[in-house]
């Protein structure tokens, strides 16, 4: 008998027994919904963490030479913390040395920052992130300017008191006025606004626009970091491979500069977006490890339910089986009919699950900033699992049906 014939027959049975069919495929539906929703949410989270979080926090293909990590994931033991505190700071000399000797092409920026007070006219704001950086900083952070211009290497060199401000600052302090060319007091020091960075939006609900960047040598530097030291030295490579190469080079240079012996632990830290993502990756790994188990449980339950439904169907349709056999259905015809029916039932469940999962993913996307994209592979896995569970669950009832004696089956009521 033809495969499509069997599917058509199965679909008709499902349609005529809507409610019963719906309950029988609930398990598969839940399992597949879960699979689709969790995968798309976790993957959306991944995209979010990588694009919006790590790359925006640190910069694409960028690493930061630091005394110690400042993006913390998980607990740091007291001992480690004390060791970090004893480390020497990164110096101007370190930055110069690396910048002049690094073979891998890269962009560099010294970086210090502190939360300070700013004022324009009668308006002022506290706790604004004031950064001192080199001109390449805007490129490293991928900051586009909404208006004005970034500061130049010459202005960095000269320590010209100019400032590029974040969108929130422009909005709050310069409400209704064009901030370009306006005077801004940073901790009482007079600056001139030359640019406004395009709105960066929020990250986990925290505004990313509450900052101002000044040339590294500008007057406020003395309030940001101690003489001759840096919070961070940013290095941006062209691609992930050259970033790794640059990191190896910097690691080696710093070890030489600090006269570390082989085997001795490095007393500095190269912070990457990857490091910032470590904690998230742990959570994602746990979710992805738990997922197959949870999906498997619902599918096994779903399979058992379908098997029972199919056993009931075989019992209820004994007479039909007798009729079919009397008309020439072979064992394999009956077997195929019920296996296909079971697989169709389960696949319909999987399809509904996929739909519901996608709906859930979109609901999450609408309600949160997560770009919950549905992973095509999870849809494929859902369909395959649906078919497999249905076939697995259908084989036993179908083989019972196929073995029925025609006369006995015909006599059933």
């Amino acid at each position: 008998m033809h495969f499509f014939e069997a599917v058509r027959m199965a679909l008709r049975t499902i349609v005529t027994q809507k409610l019963k069919s719906f309950f029988s495929l609930l398990g598969v539906l839940v399992g597949v919904t879960f699979l689709i929703a969790v995968v798309s949410i976790v993957q959306g989270m991944n995209v979010y963490m990588e694009d919006k979080f790590a790359n925006r926090l640190i910069g694409l293909n960028t690493f930061q030479l630091r005394r110690m990590p400042n993006i913390q994931t998980g607990d740091t033991p007291e001992e480690t913390w004390r060791e970090w505190q004893r480390r020497p700071r990164v110096t101007y000399a370190d930055a110069d040395y690396i910048e002049t000797r690094l073979h891998t092409p890269a962009l560099f920026s010294r970086f210090c920052s502190e939360r300070l007070r700013v004022a324009y006219g009668s308006k002022s704001a506290k706790g604004i992130d004031i950064a001192g950086a080199d001109a390449a900083y805007f490129q490293i952070k991928n900051y586009d300017l909404a208006s004005g211009r970034p500061f130049t290497p010459q202005e960095v060199q000269a320590g010209t008191p100019v400032v590029v401000i974040g969108d929130l600052l422009a909005e709050k302090l310069f409400e209704g006025v064009d901030p370009i060319g306006k005077p801004l007091l940073i901790e009482g020091l007079p600056y001139r606004v030359v640019g406004v960075v395009e709105k960066q939006g929020t990250l986990f609900g925290i505004s990313m626009d509450k900052f101002a960047v000044t040339p590294f040598n500008a007057p406020v530097r003395s309030r940001i970091c101690a003489w001759n030291t840096l919070d961070e030295f940013h290095v941006q490579a062209a691609n992930p491979a050259s970033m790794v190469a640059a990191m190896d080079e910097v690691e080696a240079m710093m070890r030489i500069r600090r006269q570390l012996k082989p085997g001795q632990r490095s007393n500095f830290y190269l912070q990457t977006a990857e490091a910032a993502l470590e904690g998230w990756h742990k959570i994602a790994a746990i979710l992805f490890m738990a997922l197959p188990g949870l999906v498997a449980i619902s599918l096994v339950v779903g399979g058992i339910v379908i098997m029972n439904i199919m056993l009931m169907a075989v019992a209820e349709r004994t007479r039909e089986i007798g009729i079919r056999k009397a008309l020439g259905a072979k064992r394999r015809d009956i077997l195929a009919q019920f296996v296909v029916e079971s697989a169709t039932l389960s696949t319909v469940g999987a399809a509904l699950g996929i739909g519901l999962g996608i709906l859930l993913a979109f609901a999450v996307k609408a309600a949160t900033p997560l770009p919950a994209a549905v992973a095509p592979w999870s849809v494929g896995v859902g369909v395959v699992l649906g078919i497999a569970v249905g076939m697995g669950a259908g084989i036993y009832p179908a083989s019972r049906a196929s073995r029925l004696d025609p006369i006995t089956a015909l006599r059933a009521e």
Partner: protein, 234 residues
């Protein structure tokens, strides 16, 4: 090939019921020619249905031989029997045995599905079988939308659709009133005239009277077997 369609020798069928053995057939020997119209009669419990089921390859004998169209069917098992049922036999039941959720057309198409006939040819053949029994205008009806006589005609169309070498009917009018029975018997008579071999079970003498041969069973044995040549032409 001879005109012998059915040949049974010393056919025996025993049912084991716990400690008891029921001898439903005790050595029946019989031959049926092509285009015969045979009525099987006998009191209730005499083994008529048992014999029909064996002739229809729905059941197998405990002993003895059954040859259908030169093939020894009594030695076949399962799938081979299913094939014979599908190709050689049209069976009409007292209780119609139609699929309740399928239309008349779909019911008639069933044997063709198992014969592997393509869907287009299937439809054509099923429609023409329904037309043969006078139901060409009822093909889309489900059994519960049809009268008893119409249902039985759908069942006959289904039995005919694979052009079987024998048409078996076990008390086909048992569930019908006399007017409807008359209508069904006319269909059988017409099919016989067109060359179909017909074997039917009945315990009504006027129905048996239409056949050209009457076989009577009693206690699982052949009690009589007589030709009615005068009726054959009728």
């Amino acid at each position: 090939m001879s005109d012998l369609v059915i040949q049974i020798r010393e056919l025996t069928r025993e049912y084991v019921m716990g400690a008891d053995r029921v001898h439903a057939l005790r050595g029946v020997t019989l031959q049926i020619q092509r285009n015969e119209y045979v009525a099987i009669m006998g009191p209730s419990g005499s083994g008529k249905s048992t014999m029909m089921n064996i002739l229809g390859c729905l059941d197998t004998p405990s002993a003895g031989e059954y040859w259908l169209n030169g093939q020894e069917v009594s030695r076949m098992v399962d799938d081979a029997l299913a094939r014979v049922r599908n190709r050689e036999i049209g069976f009409v039941f007292q209780t119609f045995n139609l699929l309740p959720r399928a239309t008349a057309l779909e019911n008639v198409e069933l044997p063709l599905i198992y014969a592997g006939v393509s869907s287009k040819a299937r439809r054509e053949r099923a429609v023409s079988a329904l037309q043969r029994v006078g139901l060409g205008d009822r093909i889309g009806h489900r059994p519960n939308e049809l009268s008893g006589g119409q249902r039985q005609r759908v069942a006959i169309a289904r039995a005919l659709v694979n052009r079987p070498s024998i048409l078996l009917a076990d008390e086909p009018t048992g569930n019908l009133d006399s007017a409807t029975s008359e209508e069904i018997m006319r269909v059988f008579g017409e099919l016989h005239r067109q060359g179909q071999t017909v074997i039917l079970v009945t315990h009504e003498a006027d129905i048996a009277a239409r056949a050209n041969r009457v076989v009577v069973l009693r206690d699982g044995q052949l009690a009589s077997d007589r030709l009615q040549p005068d009726r054959a032409a009728a």
